[in-house]
Subunit: 78 residues, 2 copies
């Protein structure tokens, strides 16, 4: 990926993580509960929410199902 | 990923591919042009548009930039 895109993508990933955290908290789920329901490990959820890891699309798909939102909702306004 | 989620995710990936193709064509770009501008290979664009490959988030980020849309636009209505 081109250099400018790397920096911009890192910032995008941080904003995405914050949005996922917001939607999880709005649902009243802990990271542990969301991880359990999504068949993911809690550490991965933590890394994704901190923007330290860019989630796979399949992960976003499962998280959206468990949080009763659409995948588009994760990206709205980013 | 859980079995039901696999099938549903495959269908989601096909719809996403179609949406990317729609937005590319609306921009008047060929797959070759979009691949060149995005520093991707044309075959990858083809697989993604056919729903045969689930794009990485970084790929969607670059494609959105080149098509002058938001990443959310790829997922709206899926």
């Amino acid at each position: 990926m081109m250099a400018y895109a790397n920096k911009a993508f890192d910032a995008f990933t941080v904003k995405l993580g914050r949005k996922i955290q917001e939607l999880r908290e709005a649902k009243g789920y802990s990271q542990e509960k969301l991880a359990y329901l999504s068949d993911l490990d809690r550490v991965s959820i933590g890394y994704i929410e901190q923007g330290r890891r860019s989630p796979k699309l399949s992960t976003l798909f499962v998280l959206a199902k468990q949080l009763d939102v659409s995948v588009a909702d994760f990206f709205t306004g980013l």
